[in-house]
């Protein structure tokens, strides 16, 4: 097998809302770190939102982890629009992390989101 193969991470795709608040960016950073750890693969929410066929087609049949920053649920609504079933859904503010517009993200908050994603993935195997 080639050393540079990117097949292995395929089954779990992670879509953070990446919104314009601390919680949106915590979601994004958690997705980056989960990808680096090999838990899943950060995927392009914008590709789904833009109805790019290859992104929608490639997401089908996979485990789709959606991380919204707040209950506005923008990321979840994007999936509703394209009729893609979300398998694991997390809202950052639901983890007792308060929304603000300060982008000095707290390390403990990012770790809390990462831990929640891992817990969900283990529970829902």
């Amino acid at each position: 097998m080639a050393d540079t193969c990117t097949c292995a991470a395929a089954p779990v795709l992670i879509f953070p809302c990446s919104g314009g608040s601390n919680v949106g960016q915590i979601a994004n950073q958690a997705a980056v770190e989960l990808t680096k750890e090999g838990v899943g693969k950060l995927f392009c929410l914008a590709g789904i939102g833009g109805h790019v066929e290859s992104f929608i087609e490639s997401s089908k049949g996979n485990r789709l982890v959606v991380i919204d920053g707040c209950p506005t649920a923008c990321a979840k609504k994007i999936f509703d629009h394209v009729n893609l079933p979300v398998t694991d859904y997390i809202v950052v503010t639901g983890l007792d992390i308060k929304k603000n517009h300060n982008f000095d993200l707290e390390r403990k908050d990012i770790e809390k989101v990462c831990a929640e994603v891992k817990k969900r993935l283990q529970c829902n195997l």
């Binding site: 097998m1 050393d3 193969c5 990117t6 097949c7 395929a10 693969k41 290859s54 490639s58």
Partner: protein, 80 residues
């Protein structure tokens, strides 16, 4: 028709290549099937995960080996 298979040579990439060739045979079509194995070219094509499948310049799917029915559909969409 030009079909590109994106992948660095792992088993899934080979499986996709084989599935495409078999599907073309079943459809009675011939196509220029190319393998793209250089990582830079794979990334440039917008393939986030391998293997990836492009038909006539349109990226159809990546990160999985689609079933033959899906491959048939991708080809039909670009057959014109």
């Amino acid at each position: 028709m030009e079909i590109k298979i994106f992948g660095t040579g792992c088993p899934k990439c080979k499986a996709l290549h084989q599935a495409v060739v078999e599907t073309l045979n079943e459809m009675g079509l011939s196509a220029d099937v190319k393998k793209v194995e250089k990582l830079d070219e794979i990334v440039q094509a917008g393939v986030m995960l391998t293997p990836g499948l492009m038909v006539n310049g349109k990226l159809k799917v990546f990160g999985k080996v689609p079933g033959k029915e899906d491959i048939k559909r991708y080809i039909e969409e670009e057959k014109q």
